[in-house]
């Protein structure tokens, strides 16, 4: 689905140049939910922006379904961390959600239906006629998730999507993400700085090392059954993985045996 090979990116040039990514190799299979964690400034957003075609990386190659990414790919949606800036305040919630569907060649009625569908899924059908600034932060982030869902992308990129909502809303949005990816067969790349979150929602956790970012670890999450905010977090495997990811993020060598 997604093949990233030897991806590197340097901002600027000359003495002020800053290498944000230093050679990333990553491949994501169809339908996988991969979480990317790493310390602040290690290049997580740079990686996501490269995959989305919003910036042209200075080195390496990205293949999406075998096609090199050089402009923004058609079959991809991004949920930005900054929901309040990523929603358009002059449009109603429903119009915000249906706007990208113009790219899908849907007519007005179809767009409206798809938008209402997506809003229903995130529990915001009642807010369709409101404006984004009339909603709470958590609701706004749900609108931007609905917008991405309505678009039916085969690859969904999320950049710290739950970073600025309260703990309860955050858990709700995590479960929402798990639920919707079950419905649509989407591949998801989710960036977070929250180690627990990465283990809770991910099929795989990829840890980036400090700047310039490289891959410090790639762990498969083998948790049994559907995830549950209480029981999953108590599971010994969850506890082990969380410690392991924490160690990797802090730049320590991984010692799976020592985690008990």
């Amino acid at each position: 689905m997604l093949e990233i090979s030897n991806l590197s990116h340097t901002y600027g040039s000359g003495p002020s140049a800053h290498t944000a990514l230093g050679g990333i190799d990553l491949s994501v299979a169809e339908g996988e939910l991969v979480c990317i964690v790493g310390p602040s400034g290690c290049g997580k957003s740079t990686l996501l922006r490269s995959v989305a075609g919003l910036i042209t990386p200075t080195g390496g190659r990205i293949l999406l379904k075998g096609v090199p990414v050089n402009q923004t790919p058609d079959d991809l949606a991004v949920v930005f961390q900054d929901y309040s800036r990523s929603l358009f305040p002059w449009m109603s919630v429903a119009d915000n959600v249906s706007l990208p569907l113009r790219r899908r060649g849907q007519d007005k009625r179809q767009r409206r239906e798809s938008a209402m569908d997506a809003l229903e899924q995130v529990g915001l059908a009642d807010a369709a006629a409101k404006y984004p600034w009339q909603l709470s932060g958590g609701m706004q982030q749900r609108v931007s998730i609905a917008r991405a869902l309505a678009y039916r992308p085969s690859l969904l990129l999320m950049d710290e999507p739950f970073g600025s909502v309260d703990a309860q809303t955050r858990e709700d949005l995590e479960d929402l993400t798990l639920r919707v990816r079950g419905h649509h067969n989407m591949t998801i790349l989710l960036i977070t700085h929250d180690i627990d979150e990465s283990v809770y929602v991910g099929d795989r956790v990829v840890v980036l090392s400090k700047s310039p970012g490289g891959i410090a670890g790639d762990l498969r999450v083998g948790l049994p059954g559907p995830r549950d905010q209480i029981t999953t977090r108590e599971h010994p495997e969850f506890v082990r993985l969380r410690a392991e990811v924490g160690r990797l993020v802090r730049g320590m060598r991984s010692h799976p045996a020592a985690a008990s």
Partner: protein, 262 residues
């Protein structure tokens, strides 16, 4: 709450005007001011009301407002696209910047004689002068507003595969619209001033300025000149408040968001 604050502001303004008029009236009646220099406030007010029933004067008002509206329309039609183009193409902007910096400080009134030479038709002349004066606030506000467009909003649309023109049309233009509207409101005030100035200097068959010039040659002309001036001032206030009202209605999202961010 907001409406009561606005209400008390209007009240304060009305009291101020009434106070000033009363003082002028008293000064005139007490013989402090020669009525040949400044007629009594009550006389001017009476003339102002009288003009409302004067068909010829109303035709003059219509002529001025016609030039005003056409000039403003031309300004918006030309300047908004030009501002959008300059704001999105930094190289072009850098190329025309010196020209703008040279032209902008030229007082528009000083260009009226030139406009009279270039445009034999008086309406064309007025529109040209209005255009020249009122294009600056619109141009500057459009370019400035474009700089303020949130890059995250643009990236959002881009990430869904929209091209640069779609981003300009669907994100940059709507988020710049409140700034453009403010520019147009400022331009509307400037346009009225220039319409009347052009009539004063350029003459022509009708207009508030023309009326004033003609009244100057009659016996009780001063009273009518001042009454016509009051009309011009009121036209300015009324059009300005219409623009403010329209901005409030259209760009509720802009003010509401700014209040939320505070």
């Amino acid at each position: 709450m907001i409406s009561s604050v606005a209400g008390s502001r209007v009240l304060c303004g009305a009291l101020g005007v009434a106070g000033l008029l009363a003082a002028a009236e008293l000064a005139g009646r007490a013989g402090l001011v020669d009525p040949a220099v400044l007629p009594l406030a009550s006389t001017i007010l009476a003339r102002t009301v009288e003009l409302a029933t004067d068909g010829e004067f109303l035709a003059d008002v219509a002529a001025t407002m016609q030039a005003w509206a056409l000039g403003l329309l031309l300004t918006v039609a030309v300047t908004v696209p030009a501002g959008l183009a300059l704001g999105s193409l930094p190289r072009v902007e850098a190329a025309v910047r010196p020209l703008i910096e040279f032209l902008r400080p030229i007082p528009s009134v000083a260009l009226i004689p030139l406009a009279i030479l270039l445009f034999p038709d008086r309406l064309d002349m007025k529109i040209a002068v209005i255009f020249y004066a009122s294009c600056w606030p619109v141009l500057i506000n459009t370019m400035y507003g474009l700089l303020e467009v949130d890059p995250v909003a643009k990236e959002t649309l881009r990430s869904f595969g929209f091209g640069p023109l779609a981003v300009l049309w669907r994100v940059s233009l709507p988020s710049t619209a409140p700034f453009i509207a403010t520019g147009v409101r400022l331009a509307a005030g400037v346009a009225l001033i220039l319409a009347i100035s052009a009539e004063l200097i350029g003459g022509g068959s009708s207009g508030i300025g023309t009326y004033v010039v003609e009244a100057g040659s009659s016996f009780d002309g001063l009273e009518y000149i001042l009454a016509a001036t009051v009309w011009a001032g009121m036209l300015g206030i009324v059009t300005n408040s219409l623009f403010i009202g329209a901005e409030r209605r259209l760009f509720r999202w802009h003010t509401a968001r700014a209040e939320g961010a505070r």
